[in-house]
């Protein structure tokens, strides 16, 4: 059995569900809007087993071969939010999520992706240490709350940007040292500043050993938000050189991620920088434009199950 966990409106999850629907696979979609109907018994000792009850099905956890997890924060599920903190439903949703995630950490099933592996993305400087170890360049970076340190860093580089260091998404912005108001707030929290690397962006989706790369052409500093400034990015499917392809696969593997979205930029001198590895990539946006069969590949991976992943993921 293959389990999908999240919301039906989540586009990557929906795309994988659709791809699986075209096969004979036994699939159960755990719709988080129906969390109130779920029960879970989990037992971990010399063996890992348990039973998951949905509204109309009893699932032995030992029968689950693969699970694709994209759960939303339970506190933001409308029914849970309406019930309020401390309500029976709130506590139930919290405990169900905790128990199911605990199971995903110990099961032999293929998990796309384990939350412990995804956590490296909660600290970009931490993840950059792993990216660096995998042989990619990373931009020169400083995290500081000291204006003089920042001025010194900026004086050594023609252009500097800043962005969040954590997993909270932020718009990459260019540093303006004349903005005294913002600089005066710097001391409250060390902020991540990076050398701006001019070049061409690539998004590479890794699905096990397969890669789906596309080139992103945009005049914006952060192409994800370029449309807001009238700079709509152009996406083009490309084939990566074999060595780069292999490094992307190895990087995802080293982070324990069967599925990942890797953000690269090829500098004007040809050097390949890696900014980030997204452990829960919203690949639908790229798939829609390029036609790359990413959801199909994820569905195939889930169908093949843990044999493949156990070979790849330590």
């Amino acid at each position: 059995m293959i389990v999908l966990w999240g919301l039906p409106g989540d586009r990557p999850l929906a795309a994988v569900a659709q791809a699986l629907g075209e096969t004979a696979a036994d699939v159960e979609f755990l719709d988080q809007r129906r969390t109130a109907m779920f029960c879970l018994n989990l037992s971990v000792g010399n063996e890992v087993n348990g039973v998951l009850h949905t509204a109309d099905r009893r699932i032995r956890l030992e029968d689950v071969q693969s699970i694709y997890i994209r759960p939303y924060d339970f506190r933001r599920i409308p029914a849970v939010a309406r019930a309020g903190e401390g309500s029976d439903l709130w506590q139930h949703a919290e405990q169900f999520d905790d128990a199911l995630l605990a199971w995903t950490e110990v099961t032999d099933a293929l998990v796309v992706n384990r939350s412990s592996a995804m956590a490296s993305n909660n600290s970009k400087p931490y993840q950059s240490l792993m990216i660096d170890a995998a042989g990619f360049s990373t931009p020169s970076t400083v995290l500081t709350n000291d204006v003089e340190e920042l001025r010194d860093f900026a004086s050594r580089h023609p252009r500097v940007i800043y962005k969040s260091a954590s997993g909270i998404r932020s718009v990459v912005s260019r540093l303006n040292l004349l903005d005294e108001d913002r600089l005066s707030n710097l001391r409250w929290c060390p902020t991540q500043f990076q050398v701006f690397v001019p070049g061409v962006d690539y998004r590479v989706h890794v699905v096990n050993e397969e890669t789906f790369a596309c080139r992103v052409t945009s005049a914006a500093i952060d192409y994800r938000y370029g449309a807001n400034e009238g700079m709509i990015p152009t996406l083009t499917a490309v084939r990566l050189p074999d060595d780069l392809n292999d490094r992307c696969v190895q990087l995802a593997r080293s982070l324990g991620l069967p599925v990942a979205g890797i953000d690269l930029r090829e500098a004007e001198n040809g050097e390949m920088y890696c900014f980030e590895v997204n452990p829960s990539p919203g690949f639908s946006f790229f798939e829609d434009v390029t036609g790359q069969p990413i959801a199909r590949a994820v569905a195939d991976l889930l169908t093949r199950g843990p044999c493949t992943a156990s070979k790849l993921i330590a």
Binding site: A36, M37, F38, C39, L40, N41, L42, S43, V44, G45, N46, V48, S87, D88, L89, Q91, H92, Q95, F96, D98, A99, A102, W103, E105, V106, S115, S116, A117, A119, S120, N122, S123, K124, P125, Y126, S128, L129, D132, A133, T138, S140, T141, V142, L143, T144, N145, D146, V147, E149, S164, A165, S166, G167, I168, L186, R187, W188, C189, P190, T191
Partner: protein, 248 residues
């Protein structure tokens, strides 16, 4: 300099510092990340600067770090505007995770991606690891029932130490304190090694014919005098180190 990294309102760090009785111990709390003087370049941690106890210092002056904080919580940041606390807490945690990961001195515990002070695992994960090593374990069970059901959800995080005769021992950098038997000591050492964790506590339950692991955590009482002493030795580089060096 020895550094203790902890949450804003944790009193045990100060008690430990007093117990150690050394002048070169500093305590870093989240409010220190709002004092100017931080500078960290990932991959070049040796030249970084930090703030502890309200004063700036150089990373090169550090000789050891004890971390007693899983993350920076919003509640640690009363000096930050409420609307910004969640974001600032995440940013500070992100910085500390990377910085602590690559410090070239003993760090107890070295952070993991999910926790600043080591492997903050579910009881299921600890027991699963132990069982995989052939160590006897007490099975952990939890049930999540539908809300409003006649018997409400009762999700113990693993077995309940205390139901049977249970005893706890503490591992500090390869030194086992309080193990009931030599066999338990060996088990605790193996668990610490496999988790790459210098400081942890193991709970055993009396079982037939010996003891079984009932739970593991990374929050032993650090003010217990033998634990405090062993920590000081470990941070000074005099401990029986378990293989948990800097990641890089």
């Amino acid at each position: 300099m020895l550094l203790i990294v902890t949450n804003q309102y944790d009193n045990t760090a100060a008690a430990l510092a007093v117990q150690w009785g050394r002048a070169d111990v500093r305590i870093m709390r989240p409010s220190d990340l709002s004092v100017g003087g931080w500078s960290y370049r990932p991959g070049d941690v040796g030249v970084s600067r930090f703030v502890a106890g309200g004063s700036p210092a150089r990373t090169s002056d550090l000789s050891g770090v004890l971390t007693r904080m899983a993350c920076v919580f919003e509640g640690d940041l009363r000096h930050i505007q409420p609307a910004d606390r969640a974001y600032v807490a995440s940013e500070m945690t992100a910085l500390l995770l990377a910085w602590l990961s690559e410090l070239p001195v003993p760090v107890i515990n070295r952070p993991t991606a999910t926790c600043l002070c080591g492997p903050l695992w579910s009881q299921e994960r600890w027991l699963h690891m132990a069982a995989g090593l052939g160590i006897p374990v007490v099975t952990a069970r939890r049930q999540v029932r539908q809300p409003g059901s006649a018997s409400p959800t009762a999700p113990p995080q693993g077995p309940t130490p205390g139901q049977k005769a249970s005893i706890r021992c503490t591992m500090v950098d390869g030194v086992c304190l309080g193990a009931p038997t030599p066999q338990c000591e060996k088990i605790a050492v193996r668990l610490a090694e496999h988790a790459a964790c210098r400081l942890l506590s193991v709970c055993f339950q009396q079982d037939d014919p010996g003891h079984a692991v009932a739970g593991v955590d990374i929050w032993p009482d650090i003010t217990n005098p033998p634990v405090a002493g062993a920590l000081l030795s470990a941070l000074d580089g005099r401990g029986a180190r378990v293989g948990t060096g800097a990641r890089r």
